[in-house]
Amino acid sequence: MNALTLWFHKIGSPPTFYRIAGAFAPWLFGVALVLGAIALYGGLVMAPRDYQQGDAYRIIFVHVPCAWMGLFAYAFMAVNAFIALVWRIKLSEILAMASAPVGAAFTFVTLVTGSIWGKPMWGTWWTWDARLTSELVLLFLYLGVIGLYHAIEDRRQAARAASFLALIGIVNVPIVHFSVNWWNTLHQGQTVRLMGESHITGAMVWPLLLMALATHIWFFASVFARSRVGLLELEGGKDWAREVALADAGDAMVTSHV
């Protein structure tokens, strides 16, 4: 076995990942909060007013990064679901299932901020626009995955079934997007591009991209924290989980004596 595969197997073993994720998660949460705060300041205070939408447009600094994350989380979940189904790696099952609620939350925030933005701009909380509708379907897909995962008793079988559903979903997401577009559209077009000229000014772009970075880091922090719990649940009978539990109990005893 060469060094890279060895490293990969090591990372993939539950106790190692539990330790590494535990070391990383608090830092990631902290960095995400700081970056998010800077991005919010840049977006809400420093960025200029929009000549058409006034200050109302500033919700994009939350709305757009969350929308990106909704899709990113689904892709992350699907990749892990694929690995879990093909190579039966326990850690991938846990990661896929840990990213589902986080992605669902981001999608939900996207829908809520979108409708808050829609009220002053379009004059309505909700309209059957193409992107809103496909975002709603995306939320339902997430909820289906979460629902299926919790409906099956055996944790590993549940993860495999939900992973399979996630993969069916990823085939469906582009179809839904296309069909809904064909059906009806009102949403504004793409305004931020990595390649070529963006349609919005630089003072608006940097907070947006920084916020996107912050949400990505937050996503991984949250997934790490969730998968640690998932790993403990799954491996409850194993030695390493018992050691972790005993160590925690020891800590608790020490603090209670102090």
């Binding site: 339902f140 909820l143 629902g147 299926l148 409906a151 399979f164 559903l165 069916i168 179809i175 809904v180």
Partner: protein, 227 residues
């Protein structure tokens, strides 16, 4: 023991499923009654003005058939799972996807085809213009097998569960959205005097794709939930 030919196995399976359904032929009426009642509820809710009903007729018929098919999905594997023959099917030396394709085909023939036959009646109840009826029937003929195939994959995932009804709806309905959009879209376009061929062709393309892929996915899902 030497296993028989794959074709023989498929034929036996089809014959068995059809016999089982024929012995309980009263049950076959239930989806029709359900669709009839759902369609009858709309005039009560929206008022009896023919113009109103005419505008929504195609969509309502589509949704009624979709919901009725959703309720019928549960029977696809339920009986076989309970008496253990589903496990025998999975263990058989013949390709599981092919056997499942036969089961899905029989299920479509016995639950969706009768619905297709009463669709003109449903459309008439809602005053659908007669010129649109052929488009509606064509869209339903393409859409219902597609719905059965997609539904079969999801039902295979929930096969061991005791109360899977609501969960199944949550899994299946988001996947049904594109089918509904294209199917009902074709009818609405025809009603508005626009070109309706493109969505029908998309439905046909989706059906061809699903006929090839859905039985494979269904087999994989079944193996996961029976493992």
């Amino acid at each position: 023991m030497k296993p028989g030919s794959t074709f023989g196995a498929c034929a036996a399976l089809v014959r068995r499923d059809l016999t089982l359904i024929w012995r309980r032929r009263g049950d076959a009426l239930n989806p029709i009654l359900f669709a009839l009642i759902v369609v009858a509820l709309f005039p009560f809710a929206l008022g009896p003005e023919p113009d109103n009903l005419r505008r929504i007729a195609a969509g309502v018929v589509f949704v009624a058939l979709l919901l009725s098919g959703l309720l019928a999905l549960d029977t696809l594997f339920r009986g076989d799972y309970e008496d253990g023959s589903l496990e025998q099917l999975v263990l058989s030396p013949h390709p599981l996807a092919l056997l499942l394709a036969c089961k899905i085909a029989v299920h479509w023939l016995t639950t969706a085809l009768p619905l297709l036959l009463v669709a003109p009646l449903l459309a008439e109840m809602l005053n659908l213009p007669h010129a649109v009826l052929p488009v509606l029937l064509a869209a339903l003929a393409l859409a219902t097998p597609l719905l059965s195939l997609i539904g079969a994959v999801c039902v295979a995932l929930t096969v061991g569960m005791r109360r899977s009804g609501m969960l199944l709806a949550l899994l299946v309905l988001p996947l049904y959205v594109p089918v509904l959009i294209f199917g009902a879209g074709a009818c609405n376009a025809a009603q508005a005097g626009l070109a309706f061929l493109a969505p029908l062709l998309w439905l046909g393309a989706g059906l061809v794709l699903a006929i090839v892929l859905a039985p494979l996915a269904c087999a994989a899902a079944l193996k996961i939930s029976l493992s």
